[in-house]
Amino acid sequence: MTSRSRLSLAFGFAVAFAGALAAVSHAQAPPGRGRGGPGYLKLFDSNMPFDPHDLAGIWSPNGNGFGGGGRCRDCGDRGYSFEFPVFTPAGQAVFDRNIPSYGRARDSADAVAHPEEHIGRRRAQPPALGNDTYGTCNPMGMPRAILYPDPVEFIALPDRIYQHFEWGYGLRTVWTDGRKLPSPDEVDLPRWWGYATARWQGNTLVVNSTGYDERTWIDYFGYPHSDQMVLHEEYTRTNFDTLELKMTITDPKYYAKPWVGETKRMHLLPKDFIKQSGWPSLLEDLCAPANENEFNRVIRDPAGTGKPAARSGR
């Protein structure tokens, strides 16, 4: 990168940030809590007029817009819910078999110190000892994909909405053409990204989906779902730059009662905010097996087991 382009990039950030500060002074207080400031890049005046039925655009729960940094303060964390789930015996058995690598370390003082959290958030083990299928770049599925801190672009067509997730470059199709959602038992072949339909109920887009591959997890903490899961999502654009998501999971095979998700929020990014090589678009932020397998071989697995690290294959 030349010094000129570095300067250009830095200046771009400075302008964006200054714009964000200016917008804050005119914007309504964000729905987040405490500590001052919106907790995310405030790039628009929230009071600008908008069409509540227009969800097209790049929405981000990331406190820095994209590229790591965690979810913003009012966006909710990357867990599905803080409500304790009520498992069926079958659900409990699968939950116990899943070994996540996210959350507080199992049996640690940190884990013991937080009994108010469900054990799912307090049982993390090194990835080398875990069994997260995402650890080898399998699709995340839903709702996990939308819990990751990075942006999702909504692409609206006359008969469908695509949700294009930056991390993993995953694509989910939500059909709005009036087709009937199959019941879980009618689904012959499960999909990593499920089967989804949507309709407008007032100013809320109501999405129902099912037929998810059982190997995906509900979130990063290893909560399972069965082939009977129906995911209910409600997307509401509450102002120009805020999209609110409420979810409920019904899965009578694994959960004794519907499990309500924590309300999540995302914030609008300008179309050209994410840019590399002068090219505005979502990053091709793929979890490619060629990279992942090598990373596991030379870094992650040795780090988790203490076994000598394999030499990097150039």
Binding site: F13, A14, G67, R73, C287, I299
Partner: protein, 143 residues
């Protein structure tokens, strides 16, 4: 240059605002309470997903060389956001580059660690996303 420094300050402030998120359970592999800092020589740097990787040699007082493998919490998207493009990063960490590296070693032992900080010979921090880069997500606000 004034603009550049001001922008760098803003970027640093933005980076400080929220620590990085690791999607592969990176935090749980390493012990930050046992961090150490040493002079090292770069043998390889990879600007790839899921995390950038640094391979380097550390020579002790008796001349014994240890080969280390490290991951950074940042992935290319985060480094890009912080102004560290692929070419700039590779140029800074080319084979043979002399650095001062701070590492949180694997809890399981061995010569694998989390690369917490990298400085060049001039004392300039490389690939910096701020001192909190790679920490856990911000704590959940108290309702």
């Amino acid at each position: 240059m004034t603009v550049n420094r001001a922008a760098a300050g803003l970027i640093a402030a933005m980076a400080l605002a929220a620590p990085a998120a690791a999607h592969h359970g990176t935090n749980i592999n390493y012990d930050r309470s046992k961090q150490w800092t040493a002079k090292a020589v770069v043998t390889e740097f990879k600007y790839v997903n899921p995390h950038a990787q640094l391979f380097f040699d550390v020579t002790d007082d008796k001349g014994v060389v240890t080969h280390w493998s490290g991951e950074l919490l940042a992935n290319p998207a985060q480094m890009l956001r912080n102004g560290w493009t692929r070419k700039r990063s590779i140029e800074a960490l080319q084979f043979g580059a002399k650095i001062v590296v701070t590492v949180a070693p694997s809890r399981a032992g061995g010569e694998t660690g989390l690369v917490v900080k990298i400085e060049n010979e001039k004392g300039e921090e490389l690939l910096s996303g701020g001192p909190n880069a790679g920490g856990p997500e911000p704590p959940r606000p108290t309702p």
